[in-house]
Subunit: 195 residues, 2 copies
């Protein structure tokens, strides 16, 4: 099997994964922005989110900034910015901010050292908690705690669900296939059938 074909096949086999932009800054305040599709819900109480990094030999900016300041942001990609979000994956030199390169605007919240993406409708400010180096292939699972959650109240239903179609949230399959989320249903809590 052709190598590129095989990589696409494996990368898309784990399905459409949520697309987010990770915003960081170094201690000098130089910002960085990078698209990721590897966030995972770890727990609701305390609110914890995991993020898988490729081996650090590849790209250290986002990881280094998180370790330097302890802060980062997770910004939901939406249909209006997915092309700009994808562009943050281009390899810019260290001192070029992908915010400027992708024409996305920085937004700051008091007390949080990492920049949010103004154009995102669902933004979280996180604080580093811990990390696990994955023996099997040198990737890293980094876990953070949600300290800030910023979203329009119109995106919420009466039970606290964020309605992702209202904020046109986008996911990505592999590195390049973008999909929007089309709402089907909210199902009731499942209980055993009585036979």
């Amino acid at each position: 099997m052709d190598e590129r074909y095989r990589v696409n096949l494996i990368n898309t086999s784990s399905g459409v994964r949520n697309a987010v932009l990770i915003g960081t800054a170094n201690a000098q305040g130089e910002s960085n922005l990078a698209i990721f599709n590897s966030i995972t819900h770890i727990g609701a109480n305390p609110p914890l989110i995991g993020l898988v990094f490729r081996p650090l030999s590849v790209d250290r900016h986002t990881y280094d900034n998180i370790r330097e300041t302890g802060h980062y942001t997770i910004n939901q990609v939406n249909k209006g910015i997915y092309i700009k979000a994808h562009h943050t994956s281009a390899k810019y030199p260290q001192h070029v901010s992908e915010f400027g390169a992708a024409q996305l605007n920085e937004q700051y919240v008091d007390g949080h050292k990492a920049p949010f993406v103004m154009e995102s409708f669902l933004k979280m400010g996180l604080e580093y908690v811990e990390e696990y180096p994955i023996q099997a292939n040198g990737t890293i699972l980094l876990i953070g705690k949600v300290k800030h959650l910023i979203l329009p109240t119109e995106s919420l239903d009466s039970q606290g669900h964020i309605l992702h179609e209202r904020i046109s949230s986008v996911g990505v399959s592999g590195l390049d296939g973008y999909y929007k989320n089309t709402f089907i249903d909210i199902l009731p809590y499942a209980r055993p059938k009585e036979d």
Copy 2:
């Protein structure tokens, strides 16, 4: 904030996550099926996928079976089976198989000890590799290697991308909000803009 409202808000803040059914069997061949939304791509070569388990105090069947046989399956949920897939989250006693309870059919592949879901269009057979207990909240990241990949050739494009709209793949936000994936675009590899 109301506790249930807060949990929904946090659970849906990490976006729409891919919905899959994990198929397992114990050493006696009794099958188990459970819906998960916590799989993560870990690497393409070797092909590794991560799966986050809630603390083992909650439900051990899927985890115990994986540790007992070393095998499990990941079956993509699609629009035709998402209601059945959701039903596997009902708390059945240990010796009741959720395959039967949810009216989904088992399918076996030679040499693989865990059952696949016949009605899924994208199925993977995995072998246990390693696991990491997460200090922060008692969850577990379990990593497996893809040994079998079963899908219709019609779901693939010429570059090896699985086209998730063709197999009507479904994601879930929080524990109960189901979404289908509507294709937008495959974007080219991003290169820095010349200024």
